[in-house]
């Protein structure tokens, strides 16, 4: 086969595309057809099956906050996935309670997805409800005022823009909240 592809460009093109499309199709187009959890929003009412809760679509304000998160490139340094690693469930946990792992059905409404590839700052997949608005405002103005040693850039143009600040905070407070994993729902606003 390969010696024929050596001499015939047409044969070459067909062979190169065929080999590419085998893996290309099976891993991208077929995969979501096999695993329905990629597209079905999370919903669980049975505590025996793990944390209960329901994933709801974002409000217009939260979507605006999401756009700001995308625009400023927050996702270059903050991942949004509690992986199947013990340490991740501890680090995403809060006040001694471990976080449940992230599952595909929690991200159905995420467009663009914000899973991230680099964790320069902490993971944010369960940050919703951990810190109140006042904390976030101070933190955006200068992160080092609250977290000495932090290398996050300051975002004064967000902290000083009420509409943008409210939208971004509203979005952050939704993160990881589809699953009711915190005892007595002690979420900050």
């Amino acid at each position: 086969m390969s010696s024929k592809a050596d001499k015939s460009a047409i044969f070459f093109v067909i062979a190169a595309l065929f080999l590419f499309f085998v893996g290309g199709t099976l891993t991208t187009a077929v995969a979501p057809l096999v695993d329905k959890s990629w597209t079905k929003p999370f919903e669980n009412n049975d505590p025996a099956k793990g944390p209960t809760g329901k994933l709801r679509p974002y409000t217009p304000q939260e979507l605006k906050g999401r756009q700001i998160y995308t625009r400023e490139g927050c996702w270059y340094c903050h991942t949004q996935q509690t992986r199947t690693l013990l340490a991740d469930t501890k680090r995403s946990g809060w006040r001694g309670v471990d976080s449940p792992i992230s599952t595909p059905d929690e991200f159905v409404y995420d467009d663009p997805h914000m899973f991230g590839t680099k964790r320069t700052g902490p993971d944010l997949s369960r940050v919703g409800g951990k810190y109140d608005s006042q904390w976030h405002r101070t933190h955006f103005r200068n992160p080092r005022d609250l977290v000495p040693g932090s290398i996050m850039p300051p975002f004064p143009w967000i902290a000083n823009n009420e509409a943008e600040f409210q939208a971004l905070t509203a979005y952050l407070q939704t993160l990881g909240r589809a699953k009711n994993w915190r005892p007595e729902n002690d979420f900050e606003k």
């Binding site: 390969s2 010696s3 050596d6 001499k7 460009a9 190169a16 595309l17 080999l19 590419f20 085998v22 893996g23 290309g24 891993t27 991208t28 995969a31 979501p32 695993d35 990629w38 597209t39 995308t70 625009r71 400023e72 490139g73 927050c74 996702w75 270059y76 340094c77 991942t79 996935q81 992986r83 199947t84 690693l85 013990l86 340490a87 501890k90 992230s102 599952t103 595909p104 929690e106 991200f107 159905v108 467009d111 663009p112 997805h113 914000m114 680099k118 964790r119 320069t120 700052g121 902490p122 992160p143 080092r144 000495p148 040693g149 932090s150 290398i151 996050m152 850039p153 300051p154 975002f155």
Partner: protein, 471 residues
């Protein structure tokens, strides 16, 4: 040409003819692409230093939205990938494809138009990314109109190259031509997936398409076009025949089959189906086949020729690039193993790995190609061999400083993360020395870029005063 084709008696005649026919080539497109890409290499190098500095001095230039880390990082990544490396690779391809086919480039006018459009895309990317117009996909940040322009430019490039190959004088196609054609075909689909198909999906489904693109931007764009250059320039620079034509076939066809399966290895342990992670891991490990076939071929080609490394500058870049290629492609499969991934994934190890691929391997190939063809394009001598040698050592020492410190730092960071008793902020503070070394390594690499740019520009400007028959 005889160097490359000595293994192929059939192509021996190709050699003699094409050397005589060298004057048929106009090469305007190659020149435009090369000179603009090397200029972007320098400009984006400044951006690279700025973001490296922000890790050490986070408040630096912090109050301007346009100069914040989150906007400069995509500019650095897109600028280096598309402004420098891909454009340089395209420029070198416009040079070598006509020579391997023994004919003129199909349309020099179309080539010039492609170069102009490509420069327009890069300028558009600078403006939109600084303005925060970011689609939110890694490597796919550019807004839709620019994505469309990239597709148009790619079709123009592909048409020109395929038409040149279709009108070739020699029936047999050399390995470099396969890799070039493979790159053009696969890129078309990989780019469409990463920049258009993602728009119709969300969540994990979208992430899977996004990482199919991210992974294959390296694996099916930069790898084949980079190897095309290496297959051409290593035998040419060393003046030695390629070791094995058969082995190069093994390398090419296994790459064509194996690479595309591995996108999900960006989400090992993450919220994506376990079976898909396993498939990605299996195929990631199989990547060793196309890589080792290629690397063995290059090393065997160099047998008895290593002494040339002393003063042959393109060869220094090429063979160092091959070693980096071997290392980075050994790391990749290892990262995908679940146990290793649990330590290194998401840490600073990963930029160390990524920079070794894009800078250490593929940029080294492109730099070697530029040093090799510039004197031939302008029918002159390189302005300064000593300066070129300096650029090599600055890239080499700066690069190693960058890669090795980030690996060590990333490994350390990964172990710390896996001990939840250590507060996250302590793992950030612990990496400060690593980021300081990275910044100063970056200054060395930038010195390499500056020396490279100066040498290239001085060669071009001095070409008229210093005419010499092209080799």
């Amino acid at each position: 040409m005889s160097a490359i084709s000595a293994a192929q008696p059939e192509q021996m005649s190709v050699a003699a003819k094409s050397a005589a026919a060298d004057s048929i080539h106009q090469d305007t497109t190659a020149k435009l692409f090369l000179l603009s890409s090397i200029t972007y290499f320098f400009i984006v190098g400044v951006i690279a230093l700025m973001i490296a500095a922000k890790f050490v001095w986070p408040g630096l230039m912090g109050n301007s939205p346009f100069l914040t880390y989150g906007r400069l990082r995509p500019l650095h990544v897109n600028g280096m990938l598309f402004g420098w490396l891909l454009a340089a690779d395209m420029g070198l391809t416009y040079y070598l494809v006509p020579r391997l086919c023994g004919v003129k480039l199909w349309s020099e006018k179309l080539g010039i138009a492609t170069a102009v459009l490509w420069n327009g895309i890069i300028l558009g990317a600078v403006v939109t990314l600084l303005a925060g117009m970011n689609q939110g996909f890694e490597y796919g940040e550019l807004i839709l109109p620019l994505d469309v322009a990239v597709v148009v430019a790619w079709v123009m490039f592909g048409t020109n190259i395929f038409m040149t190959i279709a009108t070739r004088k020699y029936e047999q196609m050399y390995v470099s031509l396969w890799y070039t054609m493979g790159c053009i075909l696969w890129t078309a689909f990989v780019y469409l997936t990463g920049n258009f198909a993602v728009l119709f999906t969300s969540g994990v489904n979208q992430a899977n398409l996004n990482w199919m693109y991210v992974h294959n931007a390296v694996g099916l764009i930069f790898t084949p076009i980079g190897l095309s250059l290496a297959y051409y320039f290593i035998p040419k620079s060393a003046n030695a025949p390629l070791h094995s034509h058969k082995l190069s076939m093994v390398g090419f066809w296994s790459l064509a089959f194996v690479y595309v399966w591995t996108g999900a290895h960006h989400m090992i342990h993450g919220p994506i189906s376990q079976w898909l992670q396993t498939i990605a891991i299996v195929f990631s490990v199989m990547l060793i086949i196309p890589v080792w076939a290629v690397v063995y071929n290059f090393f065997a080609t160099m047998k008895g020729q290593w002494h040339q490394m002393r003063d042959n500058i393109p060869l220094k870049f090429l063979m160092s690039g091959v070693v980096f290629y071997l290392l980075t492609c050994f790391q990749g499969p290892m990262h995908s193993l679940r146990s290793v991934n649990a330590i290194v994934s998401k840490t600073d190890w990963i930029p160390g790995h990524a920079h070794m691929a894009v800078l250490g391997a593929f940029s080294f190939f492109a730099i070697a190609g530029a040093y090799y063809i510039l004197p031939r394009l302008y029918r002159t001598k390189l302005y300064s061999d000593a300066l070129a040698n300096w650029s090599y050592w600055l890239f080499m020492i700066g690069g190693l400083g960058f890669f090795v410190t980030l690996w060590l730092g990333g490994l350390w960071q990964g172990w710390q993360w896996n001990n939840p008793a250590i507060p996250f902020i302590d793992t950030v503070v612990a990496l400060t020395p690593v980021w300081i070394v990275r910044f100063f390594s970056g200054i060395l690499m930038f010195g390499g870029i500056a020396a490279f740019l100066y040498n290239v520009m001085a060669t071009v400007i001095g070409a008229k005063d210093n005419p010499q028959a092209a080799a």
